[in-house]
Subunit: 751 residues, 2 copies
């Protein structure tokens, strides 16, 4: 993997190799996967790395924007695939140029530069009529501007001169699931397409359901290799749903021509006139050169990496992969708004519609709390802002208080459908939204974690409402057994989705019990806290209710908290299997004997609820109990959720089962880096990114918070010579260096 | 070239090899050319042979309908490329199938069956995941129904079973010049896209300028290889400007599945509710099986070939090529309407926008007069129906009477623009419409020819108006020189477009003189003809006007009619060059010395006006004069018009210059068969088809009409053992057989 064939004009931007991901040689086979892996995100919008030239092999060109959701005939509100601006068509005498229309492609290299959040591409195409053209590009979504995407195309005719023609295109025919005919749906109407007198091409569209206006505006600038601007006549050749700015260029053999496309996208979520603002912004940016825009963008990424970078010496692949996970995770959430959250696949693909799951609170949030607490604040406040949806959701099921949805988009109502369609068109009833109620407790757990770490009083006021209303929900949801004088939860599904509709799932019961206890504790201690006092007064919270929180919590059925713990009532009565085969990555293989037996009749798990509970309530269980359960459930867990291996890695490290910890870690680390679950094309596994970080920091570095201080118990893999990372703690940036001999902590001011 | 790899289900339809054109092995390189060559036409509409699977290599999918023109931002009204119904997308687990998305394509064969007006295709695609699928198809536009296109796709999974998905698509995003970004223009708006409860998918659109409504309606039928219908759920997955009917199919290894798509297109030219009629027609057709529809279609083609077929024994290529010319020519014009004419590229491509030129009257009409006089009637009556446009055109230039446009579409007004744009974007002033006025006389010549051959009194009434009004135009257009007492035509261009804006072009002056003489003769003989009498009465035609026709005609400047004739005033003063090099096809090469000299300063011609005049007024010139001029102009004519070689072939044969006659003939015959002008992608050269037929019948067979009888003076090339063809003459079908020994004529009843 080298960059020697890339022109110097592009080479000058490229970071050191350790920051780069390569695609070498174009086959088209991995388009979808690479579109996710090389996807860019600005904190406001994202751009999958489809090819601007257009391809006929499978592709899913997509660009999304935080908060722009729509349902129409889909079965849920999902992030809208907005008009595709990542297109510049090039023709020589009407013959299209590009990757899949050429006779031969040589020296193809595409690079994701994680340090700078940029993508470079370079290749030489030989056309069927023998012309050789070097085509190169640079893409970035400005981290400084957030709503602006810029790409440059460098065209160098190697053995001919002549006129080439361009179509700067905004394709407003694009749909969601463009590569998946059965699910394809168009989430916006095109209102009008135009090019103004300043040659700004723009498409006004609006979402189908809420009629949210969106403007996608682009302008082209052309330069010689010396940076001199070339003025050309631009013609509005838009037709139907395609915005097209047509122009031509006479090119000379051996010279390089630079086409720069700047695109601004504005939507009506927070502004009145997206069209006006988009056009004005493009104009305003004219005073800034490409390099100035790059510099401002890179400066923002430098700030991010100053906090976020993790250095691992001794294993180059692990080093690159950890940066890969961090790059995508940190680039995605909106640092400036608490209106939106993080989708389970980030904004990097269409799976799960950009919805927030419990993944946010349990897998992703710890990362942001400890590295970007200002982003964590937005994530936890998002739940507060969506509490109206949670009220509706509780009512829908006949309960009081706030019941958070399993899948959350812009309205905060449940997006997880009751019926869903398989890729082959068969329908099945999906009970997840109804049964996987632990999410409502997970949200309290996550919010409380944030508050504990930050002591953010502003958020605490909001947290009180979440805690109170979700506790009220649990009071109405818990089922009282007069006979046994206990509270139960039946008809639930725990994190292990292979066992649905169970009774008294340990994870769920335990966390609900904890929530109610927390509510009791916080609201009882009102006299000590003005915020609580004020809340109780405003809400007219009755003492009885506060006592009920404790009363009910104490009676929630927990069979045992010591020794082997049953995942749910009746789990131990299932047909018991243990895993006895592992694949080449040391990941478990489903016992052959199970074939033909319904999975939920066996003890084999997708992920282990009891281990998860032990992880998040680590101090509440004795070591032996945790070890017994880890050992038992490890033998029965297939890790078919990308959330599972990271937990087994770090719990293994903490409990002394270190043998598999590195394999589990790599399983999580490489989920998308190596596409080891085979579905990276659908987006980047956000929870896995967060879980990987937790395994690294809590597991290998052994971070604990003891007596208000950072404390480390390193357990680095042998091959690692050094581990460096940073944590924000008590408003300082703590730079941690761990090697086999010692742990160094340097405190810096936070900027 | 064989058909052995094609499945028996398709093989059964295929005619004998001598009727077939083959494409073997898919490269994509020749897509555009083959789309023209394999284009189908029903007499009402046409379908270029683009691939239903979709391709990324250059392609110009198009379907046109007689009379559906639009201008919008094009520079002329042109045939509208209607929503593309020739699409059926096939997916296996969302992976597209087809020619350019496969890893490998084997046994690719595509066949144009000229006998039946059908196109077959067969190949095996190997996907990147190793699946092998045989994909085959049959296309035809029903000659019986005219407004109905049908294609079947045969899918056979060779090494797998599973579910495949289909998108029956009507692509209403298609534009004209879809392959030519600079000229691309969309000529219709999409009104609505829908699928009704009977699973008929339809798109309602309307042309941009005249708001002519058009409905494109399609329905899918699925069959097993045994012909049993498979009922499937169809889902309307339309989005934006794409009508999409989505369905899936579980297929088993080794079995063949047949997807049949029937499409009906209706426009508002002659009906009130195209949507209603299209939907009803599709429903009505349900009572007919595919084979019944094929049979009815083939029966119509049998009737056509019964009159049209030409048999040449001794040269297989010539045999096939002559059928190729005839096939496209006879398939195109509308036998049921005189509202439309024949475009210079038939309806097989976008060049010249489907406009009628003088090509119709001088090159194409003789064919139809002698083979399909009922079609010839429509062609000549078209000019009558468009006379309002000719009035306007005369007025526009400040003249009286009727001045026909150089390019004629639906309004009959001039479509040839004053300014036109080169492929590289440069503009140039185009004076053809202004100067090439001979077309107005050519139309009279053609119409009179038709009348003479058919004695069609119904048409004669209409002809009188054309004759009268165009003669009035000439009276106002001709320039009187008091000094010399002659009438002149300056600022004209003859058929030889390499010499524009000339004085007293021989061809033009001669034919105008003839028209006025004819007008004088016909209107003077009023007493003998009630139709003329009635016309004169109704029109108030003054005697003076009739006398003027003669008076002016007699004074039109014709320098000489014997000996060497000057193409136009001053032609003999130009720098004189003679051709001295010929290419491998024995076609002349531009003398090297001319390089750098403006072509119009030399005597080198694109085509020879004097020879053309001698051809159409053969009996008016003595043999020696014709020989002298043929000899002189042959040495100076480059035949850069596809109209030229056929004239040189047949005139050579008639004048005894037989040496090059066969080469000229083949040049004309193979224009599109071999793409020997390199522009077959733009459509089929209609005039060349007609000229080829004239060279064959007037030249090689030596047809003359003498004393009311057919008379032949055969001059067959040595390699031809037999020439057979048919002529309609005096309401009988005359079957002519010519071999070296004799000419046989069999008279049959016309059916």
């Amino acid at each position: 993997m080298n960059i020697q064939n890339i022109s110097k004009e592009i080479k000058k931007y490229i970071s050191d190799n350790q920051w780069l991901l390569f695609e070498e040689g174009y086959t088209g086979d991995e388009n979808l996967e690479l579109e996710s892996k090389f996807c860019l995100a600005s904190g406001l919008m994202s751009l999958r790395a489809s090819h601007f030239e257009g391809t006929v092999r499978k592709t899913l060109p997509a660009n999304y924007m935080h908060g722009v959701f729509d349902k129409d005939r889909a079965f849920q509100r999902e992030l809208v695939n907005l008009p595709n601006w990542n297109i510049l068509k090039i023709f020589y005498k009407t013959i299209p140029m590009g990757l899949e229309v050429a006779k031969e492609i040589e020296n193809y290299t595409r690079i994701l530069d994680m340090k700078k959040g940029m993508v470079y591409k370079s290749y030489i195409e030989t056309s069927f009529d023998g012309r050789k053209t070097k085509i190169e590009s640079i893409h970035f979504l400005s981290r400084e501007l957030q709503d602006t995407g810029i790409f440059r195309v460098y065209v160098t005719p190697l053995n001919y001169s002549g006129q080439i023609e361009f179509e700067n295109t905004i394709d407003a025919s694009i749909t969601n699931f463009i590569d998946f005919p059965r699910f394809r749906v168009k989430h916006y109407n095109v209102k009008n397409i135009s090019m103004n007198e300043e040659n700004i091409l723009y498409v006004n569209s609006e979402t189908k359901d809420f009629k949210l206006p969106i403007t996608t505006a682009s302008k082209i600038y052309i330069y010689t290799e010396n940076g001199e601007e070339i003025e050309k006549i631009h013609q509005d050749k838009s037709y139907g749903e395609y915005g097209v700015d047509f122009f031509d260029l006479n090119i000379e053999e051996g010279k390089t021509y630079i086409i720069e496309k700047r695109t601004v996208i504005k939507n009506g979520l927070n502004i009145d006139n997206p069209e006006k603002e988009a056009l004005e912004k493009i104009k305003k940016l004219e005073s800034e050169t490409f390099d100035e825009l790059v510099d401002a963008h890179v400066e923002e990424y430098e700030k991010l990496w100053n906090r976020a970078d993790i250095v691992i010496k001794g294993d180059e692949k692990v080093q690159k992969a950890i940066r890969f996970n961090i790059f995508h995770l940190m680039s995605t959430p909106n640092p400036k708004s608490n209106d939106t959250n993080i989708g389970a696949k980030l904004m990097h693909g269409e799976e799960y519609g950009g919805h927030a799951f419990w993944d946010t609170e349990l897998f992703i949030l710890p990362y942001f709390i400890n590295v970007f607490p200002e982003v964590a604040k937005n994530l936890v406040e998002y739940r507060y802002k969506k509490i109206e949806g949670a009220y509706k959701n509780a009512m829908k099921f006949g309960y009081t208080g706030a019941r958070y949805p399993w899948e959350s988009a812009d309205t905060g109502e449940e997006e997880c459908p009751d019926w869903t369609i398989e890729p082959d068109g068969t329908c099945y009833k999906c009970t997840v939204a109804q049964e996987e109620i632990h999410v409502t407790a997970d949200i309290v757990y996550g919010g409380y974690n944030y508050y504990k770490m930050t002591n953010d009083k502003d958020y605490f006021k909001k947290f009180l409402l979440i805690l109170y209303e979700t506790s009220r929900y649990w009071l109405s949801r818990l089922e009282y057994s007069k006979e046994k004088d206990i509270y139960e939860l039946t008809g639930v599904t725990g994190p292990d989705e292979w066992h649905e509709n169970v009774r008294n799932n340990f994870y769920t019961n335990y966390i609900v019990k904890w929530v109610l206890e927390l509510a009791n504790r916080i609201f009882t201690n009102q006299s000590n806290d003005d915020l609580v006092k004020e809340f109780i007064l405003n809400k007219n919270v009755e003492d009885k209710m506060i006592r009920d929180f404790h009363e009910v919590s104490s009676k929630i059925k927990i069979k045992n908290t010591k020794g082997l713990i049953e995942q749910f009532e009746g789990y131990f009565d299932l047909i018991d299997y243990e895993i006895y085969e592992w694949d080449k990555n040391n990941m478990p293989i489903l016992p052959k004997e199970i074939k033909g037996i319904k999975r939920d009749l066996t003890t084999i798990n997708k992920q282990a609820d009891v281990v998860m509970a032990h992880f998040i309530f680590f101090d509440k269980f004795d070591l032996e109990t945790k070890q017994i359960n880890y050992d038992y459930y490890e033998k029965r867990t297939l890790h078919r959720s990308s959330l599972s291996p990271s937990i087994f890695s770090l719990m293994g490290l903490k409990l002394g089962f270190t043998e598999n910890a590195e394999d589990y870690f790599k399983r999580s680390l490489f989920v998308d880096f190596d596409n080891n679950q085979g579905n990276t094309r659908e987006g980047i596994h956000a929870a896995s990114c967060g879980g990987t970080w937790q395994a690294l920091v809590y597991g290998f570095a052994g971070l604990e918070f003891k007596e208000g201080k950072l404390h480390f118990t390193p357990r680095l893999p042998k091959s690692w010579e050094l581990l460096e990372f940073s944590l924000v703690f008590k408003n300082k940036l703590n730079k941690i260096k761990i090697n086999n001999e010692k742990v160094d902590i340097y405190e810096e001011e936070l900027c």
